[in-house]
Symmetry: C2
């Protein structure tokens, strides 16, 4: 991998070495499972990015821009990074011919980042492959199991968001 999106997985002490926890597929601890699943998805995302000649962050940028042009500050907020980081990120995307900066009519300070045709195609191709991989990953689940899984994730995500907004 070039500039890998490092999957952070190991958390449970004893996960990598203890043979019994390694074959825990039979009755995997739920917290450990969640960490491993996260690592799985992350690794998949990184591999697909690389296959498309992108870093994970560049791929994410393209996907966001698929929705339309975005300002630098907007992107920084959406990525959860400082705006200075967006300068470099956009520079590299521009250098690779994936995106370009353009002026915003109403505000002479602002810039918009837009996908080029190349970038648009790259974004669509990348997104299609990630979707396919996710579908493949979820394929072992039965329709009923899938629905339970979906509902559980929705519950977790919804509750986490509620808790986050309470903490603000």
């Amino acid at each position: 991998m070039t500039t890998t999106g490092q999957p952070i997985a190991a958390t449970a002490p004893g996960r990598e070495a203890a043979p019994e926890s390694r074959c825990a597929g039979a009755h995997l601890d739920i917290a450990v499972g969640l960490v491993q699943l996260t690592g799985l998805v992350q690794g998949m995302y990184a591999r697909v990015s690389e296959r498309h000649g992108l870093t994970p962050v560049q791929a994410k940028l393209l996907c966001v821009l698929l929705d339309g042009p975005r300002g630098m500050a907007e992107l920084a907020h959406c990525f959860g990074v400082e705006k200075a980081a967006l300068t470099g990120l956009t520079d590299r995307a521009e250098r690779r011919g994936l995106a370009r900066r353009s002026a915003v009519p109403g505000d002479r300070r602002a810039l918009q980042v837009t996908l080029t045709d190349t970038g648009h195609q790259a974004a669509l191709a990348f997104h299609a492959e990630v979707t396919a991989e996710l579908t493949r990953l979820l394929s072992p689940l039965s329709p009923g199991g899938r629905e339970h899984f979906r509902a559980a994730m929705a519950e977790i995500i919804t509750e986490h968001r509620a808790a986050s907004s309470r903490d603000e």
Copy 2:
């Protein structure tokens, strides 16, 4: 955040902007949910790392070493990176007093990376907090929902491993 572990989330076109997909908590698409859940866990891991003055990768290193000393090549394989990357990673951990290199009796080429007392305590504290956060994240699930969720993850992980080993 200092040196953030960037959560890669955005994948679905229309996720960030379209208002209807944002309040998709009611009936979240399963693939989108998986990506969002991954982002959630990743973000949590990064925040806990930072709270402990660690980068996500350093935290992962400490957790792996909690199981006992490891050689550089072994760690590189376990992290899925080149061995050269481990040199820097270990240098930084050593500089921060979290780990140290020591000679291996039988092999004069090899080195072992071991946790210092400080590193051991940091690893335990970090791991405890990650576990607590995971437990909190999973708390909205009912016992039955939790079991379904656990089983679904186990199925996905097991099948993915089987597929991976078939592809080798």
